[in-house]
């Protein structure tokens, strides 16, 4: 119900002029009111001039809108030097007619006044400047200094009112800076004339850490974020950090990336983590959190992706040296520019500054994978709530960039093993728990996958070994007295190995036996065959002999018969014959 209404209002609502400043347009739901003046107020040194200048620089660079900067306090040269550290090249913009800086010297007490006057000079200068570059954006920094130069405040007020009207008629988007004072937004009360939009900047110190905040006090004709948003002045300008988790509109990726440990990937449905998710690794000191992180980073570099390693306990060279001991060499990736380290003690500056630095790094280096090791160290600079809000913002920063982020979190002891110190586990997509498993007088490491959103994952506890070839996960044995780890597991291993060997021997023996049997059988067969052949031969010989004998006998008989017949013929008369 509320949503379509709001959408319609946005459509009908006033036109916005995008500032291009990170986060600010989001809070202002599009930008500053286009063609109208915006009052930017705050105490000394809270970043008014820088924000105003960034508005012009980004306008020129990103939206091709030229700008005019009327400086009442600093010269063009000083301004250029002040913002050069943020990569704003004013001389170049000026020479390309994208920017015009007019320094208005305001000399106190050198000016006598007699009779009436107006500020036509200022109007003419502005007009000339706007025409010169075709400006769409104008900054007046800080127009209230005029009050120190001219004493007739009645004239000044009337002239300022006329100036703002005139600027509106010019259709330029104007930022007017002013200093807060005496509990009022501006010292001279010029907020009376600039009623469309008021932004308040604030710079205060909390627990020795300075924090800058921005708040949109008033924005006529549009909705806007109303909280105090921390902002920081980083290497690429101002970053305002809205708690954008209110808008949960990250695109979910179905792509999976390896954790760098094949056995762990296997536990995570066989494919590893989802890209663009947040991974939490909790564990007590020395459970191997950093080693897991190093694997993760190495795997990313091996895929040719950029990785950012934020170390808040160890320096870059320490991380590299320590990881070498488990066979992970990160140095080549650093040399190839795929891996960037950001090592900083959390206490060195405030949470917001860290947040912005990380944000700036994420934008400039554009890593696909980020490791924050450990996130718990930020507790040194903020309380639980602040750290949680910071981590939430970090997660948003990374998720919106589809960067996979791994956070390690140090737990005080095994007693609190299942609660992450900064209470951010609910924000994470995957949660690995590393635990010390104590048994048989030794300490071994165990790994659990406590949570892995959107994937089937192993419920097994794995033993986790740090070897000189990296992290290795081994199946833990469940023995009669519980989980077997360390030497108990090794003993079990040896027992199993012995059994296996015995089985193997037995098998070999059986095989040999069988072979021998076959050999015996075959030799018996051969012998029998030989015997048979011998017998057969002798029988055959006998048969032959008998046949020969028979033949002989026949011959003898025939011969005898023949001779007998002849004798008969001779004796019985030769008649017949």
């Amino acid at each position: 119900m509320a949503r379509p209404q709001r959408k319609a209002a946005e459509k009908r609502g006033i036109a916005k002029c995008r500032t291009g400043i990170t986060g600010l347009d989001q809070i202002m739901e599009g930008g500053l009111p286009k063609g109208r003046p915006t009052l930017l107020c705050g105490g000394a040194g809270c970043g008014k001039t820088i924000l105003a200048m960034e508005f012009l620089v980004r306008g020129a660079r990103e939206f091709n809108e030229a700008g005019v900067f009327m400086a009442f306090e600093e010269t063009g040269k000083e301004l250029g030097e002040n913002v050069a550290s943020m990569g704003f090249d004013l001389p170049s913009l000026i020479s390309h007619k994208k920017l015009f800086v007019d320094h208005v010297r305001v000399e106190r007490s050198e000016i006598e006044e007699t009779g009436e006057y107006d500020l036509e000079g200022l109007f003419i200068r502005l007009e000339a400047a706007i025409r010169r570059v075709g400006a769409k954006r104008v900054v007046l920094d800080t127009i209230e200094s005029l009050f120190s130069s001219f004493s007739n405040t009645n004239i000044l007020r009337a002239e300022l009112r006329r100036l703002f009207q005139w600027l509106k008629s010019k259709g330029v988007t104007v930022v007017i800076t002013a200093e807060t004072g005496d509990g009022k937004l501006t010292r001279q009360g010029i907020e009376e004339y600039v009623a469309d939009c008021v932004i308040l900047l604030d710079h205060r110190v909390e627990e020795q850490n300075s924090i800058r905040h921005l708040r949109v006090v008033k924005y006529r004709g549009t909705t806007h974020g109303t909280s105090e948003y921390p902002f920081l002045i980083g290497v690429s300008g101002i970053s305002v950090l809205p708690l954008s988790s209110l808008k949960l509109d990250h695109e979910a990726s179905t792509q999976r990336i390896s954790s760098g440990i094949p056995q762990l990937d296997a536990m995570l449905g066989g494919k590893g983590f989802y890209r663009g998710t947040s991974i939490l690794i909790t564990g007590a000191a020395g459970t191997g959190k950093s080693s897991m992180a190093a694997h993760f980073v190495q795997a990313a570099c091996q895929r040719g992706e950029r990785a950012l390693y934020m170390a808040s306990e160890q320096s870059r060279s320490e991380v590299i040296r320590n990881m070498r001991s488990i066979g992970i060499d990160l140095e080549p990736w650093v040399e190839q520019g795929l891996l960037q380290f950001y090592a900083n003690r959390p206490g060195s500056f405030g949470l917001e500054k860290h947040l912005v630095t990380i944000h700036d790094l994420a934008t400039a280096f554009n890593p696909r994978v980020v490791v924050i090791d450990p996130v718990t160290n930020f507790l040194a600079v903020g309380n639980d709530l602040e750290v949680k809000s910071m981590v939430t913002r970090l997660i948003d920063v990374f998720k919106s960039r589809h960067t996979t982020a791994m956070f390690t979190s140090l737990t005080a002891g095994d007693s609190t093993a299942e609660s992450s110190e900064v209470g951010v586990s609910s924000l994470m997509d995957a949660w690995l728990l590393l635990r010390n498993l104590e048994s048989n007088g030794e300490r071994n490491r165990g790994l659990y996958v406590l949570k892995a959103r959107g994937m089937a994952h192993s419920n097994q506890i794995r033993e986790f070994l740090l070897t000189d070839r990296g992290v290795r996960l081994v199946d833990a044995y469940i023995g009669p007295s519980g989980l077997l780890t360390g030497s108990a597991r090794i003993a079990q291993d040896i027992r199993e190995q012995a059994q296996a060997a015995a089985r193997k021997q037995q098998l070999a023996r059986k095989n040999l036996e069988l072979k021998q049997k076959r050999q015996t059988l075959e030799s018996q067969i051969a012998k029998m065959r030989a015997d048979f052949e011998m017998e057969e031969n002798s029988v055959l010989r006998d048969v032959e002999d008998l046949e020969l004998a028979e033949k002989d006998a026949t011959l003898v008989r025939t011969a005898m018969g023949r001779s007998r017949q002849a004798e008969l013929a001779r004796s019985h008369g030769n008649g017949r014959a």
């Binding site: 208005v104 000399e107 006598e112 007699t114 009779g115 006057y117 107006d118 036509e120 000079g121 003419i124």
Partner: protein, 120 residues
Amino acid sequence: MKKTRRLARKERLRWELRLYIADSSPRSKLAVGNLRRLCEQHLKTQYRITIVDIVRQPSMACAHNILATPTLVRVLPPKDTTVVGTLADTRKVLQALGVQVEGEKGAAALELGSAHIGHA
């Protein structure tokens, strides 16, 4: 600027004044009139007035850092002194320009001599 000053010395000019105005507004006219009269009366022939219309020459407003109009700048004698407004109060203008009215020495005397000027 240097050239003007050298020239001025040659011609024995003591006062080089520049009045910045915006077009022909009533205030501008008033200031021009006031300045002319003031110079006639108190600076004799030793002065020169240049009138700059910043509407026609906006770059002059930038170059000489002019915000208000009318603005009177004393170029000579150095260093530059500025008076803004219609120059309604002659005494105040003279004081700002550092003009000593005849027969008087020092700033203290000027205070006493104001009545004298009125008579003259």
